[in-house]
Symmetry: C2
Subunit: 253 residues, 2 copies
């Protein structure tokens, strides 16, 4: 029942986990040196074999009108776990169900509601199905990453944020080494903010260039290999990092 994957399949899975919507077949084809048609054929095979279950959009419901996301940790008898998981997945509000191999706490159900009353309705619906809720908590954030083993081999994870310290509120300090091909290279900080390369909520507070530490001004121009310290109030780390790392790191073979 296990399907044998080759390098092409693995790379397809990696790219689709990274961005399932804005990754076209020709893009992947360039990366693995086959024709776009082959990529599409493989994708369809992976879908047909059930290896690709589907494609989901990750939604930050909290930002969308303050909806609440709740995680229910539940017990289900092993014999009924599969069917209860199926029934739970169609309860209004439920967006994700995980079946675990343990005897207890073996069903993790994630649901969204516009307020606590809506979540109470989910609680009641799950109870009526015979699912025992052992624990429930609000979900603050969720992050998806591709499976790195299926990614390109020449990956250098050290390029991105080297340090990451949470401050009060949602502000973060990020240390990042500037990529040679980063969008911000050659721009002054003033220009970067004006051209929306750099978020308005982000502030460059230090630049290490070689042996010296520069104090950044609006006219300071960012160069490759600068070690830049950024204070970000937006909390959207990825968006901030985009300015400093290469934009198309995935297209390089």
């Amino acid at each position: 029942m296990t399907y044998r994957l080759d390098e092409i399949d693995r790379r397809i899975i990696y790219e689709l986990m990274r961005d399932a919507r804005n990754t076209s077949a020709p893009t992947i084809a360039d990366a693995v040196n086959v024709s776009p048609g082959t990529i599409r054929n493989r994708i369809h095979q992976l879908e047909d074999h059930g290896i690709i279950r589907g494609y989901t959009a990750g939604i930050d419901f909290e930002q969308a009108e303050g909806h609440l996301t709740n995680l229910y940790v539940c017990n289900a008898p092993i014999s009924e776990r599969k069917s209860l998981a199926r029934e739970a997945s169609v309860v209004p509000g439920v967006i994700n169900v995980r079946e675990l191999m343990t005897g207890r706490r073996n069903l993790h159900i994630m649901a969204v509601g516009e307020n606590t009353e809506a979540l109470r309705r989910v609680t009641r619906a799950l109870s009526q199905l015979g699912i025992e809720i052992e624990d429930e908590t609000l979900v603050e954030a969720e992050t998806d990453s591709p499976y790195s083993s299926f990614g390109p081999e020449d990956e250098t994870p050290g390029t991105e944020a080297t340090d990451f310290i949470s401050l009060a509120g949602d502000a973060n300090v990020i240390d990042v080494t500037v990529d040679e091909t980063a969008p911000i290279v050659g721009c002054s900080l003033e220009e970067a903010v004006r051209d929306e390369i750099l978020d308005d909520d982000s502030l460059v507070i230090a630049i290490e260039r070689g042996d010296e530490v520069l104090t950044p001004h609006g006219t300071t121009v960012i160069e490759p290999d600068d070690l830049v310290t950024v204070l970000s109030r937006s909390g959207r780390t990825d968006a901030v990092l985009e300015a400093f790392v290469t934009e198309a790191s995935r297209t390089e073979q």
Copy 2:
């Protein structure tokens, strides 16, 4: 900071949660009666505001060369939770991280490895980051669903599987009412299997038509509104149901 959504935004989110890759802008445009360009503009706005976090492919790693998926339930000090979550997400093998609001068990980390040794490496990496692993278990299955509140109002969830009983092994019995526009309508069971409308692993064991119960044969032709009982050994319920429900239920206004 909360973004105000209208009917168009909600519907876009619903459709992209349902299928982020094979849902084109014109398809959604037809459903809400605006131009495709407007749908694309809205999608970009939702992406820019961070309401759409990204698009992920759901992978069944077990079917792919028998990879193992593990869920680590961890404790992280509240003050460091956000940064630990960030660091955990780049540990090789980690594909999903959830931050929860509780004091304990507030970090759920999901990782994939080709064997138990690979998962042990993940365990070590997480420990070295200062994450305390409280519990860990293999993940058997995961299901994603769209947020039904954002879906079309005339949804009739009763159309699909009305009952669902797990049997020994991976076999299931499903009761389903046949849709008028289902692919299998007008086909004999023999033809359905030959044309690959119906899975080879699926067996129709009963048909209720009006007041009578038919015993299915190869030559039996499926009609709309038949209540069909299907025994499926494949465990891939969705694939089986596809034959009996309308293929393009989302295109109907």
